[in-house]
Assembly symmetry: C2
Homo-oligomer: 309 residues x 2
């Protein structure tokens, strides 16, 4: 697609092919917190939500909040689940609190406290020290916003309305959750394992494009339910296809008989799998198919009864 010889004139004729820039959004990212230290100032309900966000991302977490201000969830996380690395039972004391005991700056600072003057001053200190900061409920004091989240194992989906409609963001999240099968997390986990096995077997950097292509082939041939059911044994059979430049399908790996042997639920799902992305069917298509089969059954029943009468 990209070639050095493509002239600006050619580029011009392609104008309609490229998506138009749509200003006004945020830059949606998956910030990496593994091995990073996060400071959270606050202990209320909002702080407990932040705690879950950063612990879900494997951060090393320090919390500063007087014990008297801890919400029930915060108490549970701190003293029952014990998922927080460092807890200081006191208020925020000043710039020195932005350094961990080893004298290193924290990698991220979050505040969720009612004192808006203190929030503002923490934000200013963090910015001066180039620490990414989020002050709950005060957009101008946030380098980043949080959104409404869905999690299924390694799958994470975030819905953001840039603060314009938090309630709608939540409604959208509910719609998304319904549209995504429960076992999709397992499917992605298995794809991750297969990918790691492939990289182990064909480690050369030069094979990277072929590896990517092959993985895409597998994901196109195996639907989400099949990927979720994939065993280590299946993976070995699939990997055996690499040298012959083949990516065996579910039926090729398991045999036709086995492929149609699973439980009623997966048969039903397979029957409904008419859309390109298997496992999801548009309500319109479902309604139409329902209409046709309803009419069929009615006509059939009437014909049968008429003949018997």
């Amino acid at each position: 697609m990209a070639s050095a010889s493509t002239s600006t004139d050619v580029a011009k004729t392609k104008a309609n092919e490229y998506p138009k820039i749509a200003p006004g959004g945020g830059l949606i990212l998956a910030w990496q917190l593994k091995g990073k230290k996060v400071l959270l100032v606050g202990g209320g309900m909002v702080a407990a939500g932040r705690l879950v966000n950063v612990k879900d991302a494997d951060a090393h977490l320090t919390i500063i909040s007087p014990r008297s201000g801890l919400s029930a969830e915060m108490k549970y996380r701190l003293f029952t689940e014990e998922c927080v690395e460092v807890y200081h039972d006191r208020s925020f004391e000043g710039e020195s609190d932005l350094y961990d005991p080893s004298g290193k700056l924290y990698d991220m600072v979050l505040t969720a406290i009612d004192d808006s003057d203190l929030s503002r001053s923490i934000c200013q200190m963090a910015r001066k020290l180039r620490i990414p900061v989020n002050v709950a409920d005060v957009p101008p004091e946030c380098d980043f916003y949080f959104g409404s989240l869905i999690r299924r194992g390694p799958l994470q989906i975030m819905v953001s309305t840039g603060g314009k409609g938090p309630k709608i963001a939540n409604q959208v999240r509910v719609v998304m959750e319904k549209a995504i099968p429960e076992n999709l997390g397992d499917a992605i986990t298995n794809v991750g394992v297969l990918r790691a096995k492939l990289r182990e077997r064909v480690p050369e950097q030069s094979s990277s494009p072929r590896r990517m292509k092959w993985m895409i082939d597998v994901c196109e041939k195996w639907n989400w339910d099949q990927l979720a059911e994939m065993t280590e044994e299946d993976m070995d059979k699939i990997l055996a296809g690499w040298s012959e430049r083949k990516s065996p399908s579910y039926v090729e790996v398991r045999g036709v008989r086995k492929a149609y042997a699973p439980n009623l639920h997966s048969i039903a799902k397979r029957l409904f799998a008419v859309c390109p992305v298997v496992g999801y069917i548009s309500p319109w298509a479902a309604g139409l198919m329902g209409f046709a089969s309803g009419a069929g059954v009615a006509v059939g029943t009437i014909a049968f009864r008429t003949r018997r009468a």
Copy 2:
């Protein structure tokens, strides 16, 4: 929910109420780039994708890349669309390139070049200077990852698999896109306008919880189609309800007759709107309804013909 008197013992009994921490994810964020300066090193296809990401988020963008290495899209963005603030037709030269002309550090650095040694050294410089950095395709040199995105006006949805299954992330994006109505962006924009009008009318900080509650009421009473159709005139009528502690519904604002007058498409949508979140219906429910109506029509038709015969 959060009260200072809640004891640790009470918190313990609530253990099952709280979601379990699910490690292994990223911290999904909407990074704010309005008024921020971003440096992008590279001019190929991947760089063009990064350009769209950061310009969609209103960043001030500087690109460093020899003209000979520009992809067709990059040429289009630079010379036809002219959406990039600063372009340097040269290679990256060293640490001084991480400062803008005024001597200020860039707020974010992205690289998308083939030279992995140069990438690594840019990453190290950026980290030393505490600039968030992303090196395309080299996860350990990324403070953050990008994901698969959906955009509908102010609505942004990101699908991330933490690098485990990029192909599946794309398939999920396609499913999401089908599940979300086209006009949802308009609905959110209108909610944003209504919210701003409300804040103008009732600016007191002390009213913030009541404002939030009232906005939620409106979003629950007006479905997405109705919100998308909402006019300034409608908004004034809704806002008139604030002082009486009412949030008028679509029917109350437009009158019943008008509410049922719109085009066939919205009537069909309203008929199908049996789910709590209006505008989406599960394929199973649609199939069932289709089946019932198919059977009904068949029986009706046969009965009618039989009587005529």
